[in-house]
Amino acid sequence: MSAVAQHTFDQFLRADRMPHIWCPGCGIGTAVNCFVHALQKTNLPLEQVAVVSGIGCTARVAGYMYLDSFHSTHGRALPLATGLKLARPELKVVVISGDGDLFAIGGNHFIHAARRNMDLTVICVNNFNYGMTGGQLAPTTPQGARTTTTRQGNPDTPFNLPALAAACGAVYVARWTVGHVVQLQRAMGEVLSKKGFTFLEVISPCPTLFGRLNKLGAGVDMVQAAKERAVIRNGADPKEADITMDSPIVCGKFLDIEKPTYLDRIGLTPTAASE
């Protein structure tokens, strides 16, 4: 291991694994940074927080946090997290993964976990493409955008993630860009302390692939552009939050309601299942 200096937040991180694998200008690290700031503020005991991820650039988050963490397989973070939560209800189980992982291959688990109002927090870093495998089409890729599997422009129409989450039963739904560090941190604090199925979409640049393929400049340019396109509309109907290549990006907290959660409904009190 190389010499590393000590950052204020290194206690939350596996500092011995820094620098991380993310590209220069990738926004994933910023999302993690906000998460760590939020986590610190919640005062949750750290051994009671677990991170579960799937596979992808974003999913690597699990391996950089000094928390119990599980880097599962592509698309399967949610069912794994479900098992973990039901076995150990006292844990705060946070799923952090990419849009491809959660909504392409993992889409079924998402809609079912949301339907059940399973007690999980889901943070999706949406970079509009598959980073890990090299910039292919994602179910979030805006129509017309170029990816390595749609070089002529994407003919597909993407999911609107907040709308899908809301339609399926999530009790908290929000979207921010990595440019909104203050709001993002606040939202992360909120999902960390709310029970039931909570969903936070984080719009983040992938300069290496989506940025390069669509000539959007460096990471910092993409963050700035997204922030400029952002329109904050708390409480808006998430259906109006579609994203195209040049539309405004509607951000804000769209939903924050109370509803019996899965644990409530099966009467599972923390410590019931774990011995």
């Binding site: 051994e47 391996g63 599980f70 599962s72 098992g83 844990l91």
Partner: protein, 385 residues
Amino acid sequence: MTEHSDVLTGAHFMNGDEACAEGALAAGCRFFAGYPITPATEIAETMADRMGEVGGVFIQMEDELASMNAIIGASWGGVKSMTATSGPGFSLMMENLGLALMTETPCVVVNVQRGGPSTGLPTLVGQQDMMQARWGSHGDYEIIALTPNSPQEMFDLTLEAFNLSERFRLPVLVMADEVVGHMTEKVVIPAREELKIVNRKKWQKSDDKHLPYRADEDLVPPMAAMGEGSFQHITGLTHDERGYPGANAAVQDALVRRLIDKVRKYAKTELTRYEAVEMDDAEVVIVCYGITSRSCLRAVRVARERGIKAGMIRLQIVWPFPDHLIEEIAAKARAIIVPEINMGQIVREVQRAAGGKCPVHGMPIPGGAMHKPEQIVEMITREMQ
């Protein structure tokens, strides 16, 4: 007859699927995630009814992919967990069976085999997933698979599957079949204190950083549950003792060899389990497993009545395959016959292990029915001529 309101004891007339569920509960299983599929559905249904009574959790997931992952998650929550399925669902579990193997997650997967391929014969018997049990997930691994031949053994071997999974930290397979799953017989459940229950080696909290994949001499690392403060990172990527990804051949070599060796090391001892019938002077030996053994047993009896020196080895653990046992038999026998409800799977292993020392014949049928004992008797008789 029931002594505790939670775990059953005493004699019951129950089917194999129910016995399997009871065996799991007796072993301490307190989490079941599953998805209905004939002929394994009754396991899930029994679990759904019983989990509440024993303070565990049952959840029906959206599919088998989810079920497999949920039991992995639960196991890392410190709870013994299981799922049950049949061929199509078993195929869907293959990717994440690999995750369980790679992350050394104790759990039990039951496959009540039906006729395949594809949807095949949902309600009829097969033993066609025996090689899939060994090779169905990508990448290299060794696995443990048990083959019950009665409701009683559905209880016993499911319990044993939990013990082995906890002992060796890996998913253990119970490879049952439609007939065993759906047949009802007397099942005797010993009192709780008479049952041998194995629990995983636990991580002991200390000042040192937890190295989740630092194995002990037995090649098995102690395990911490999530939430116990070990701050562990678990990944399906190739990883070092710290649990950190290491994308190179050296880390792969150390990890995968250990994963394999921790099973191979015990293949000839703890992991050899079989029943020998009339083997003392047997000239023709039947090697079989699971429900087929009940046709074979009859055949051996009939053959003996006719003065033919037939014997039978019934494997209760098929994987790891007992090469040494077969080698020994092949050195003495005139011929080995391997009836299976498939087109020739385990017979290949027997042939390999026999190494040409005696002829080894399969008796393949592709599912939908058991072997008629008379057919086997005929085959034995032919080999004696």
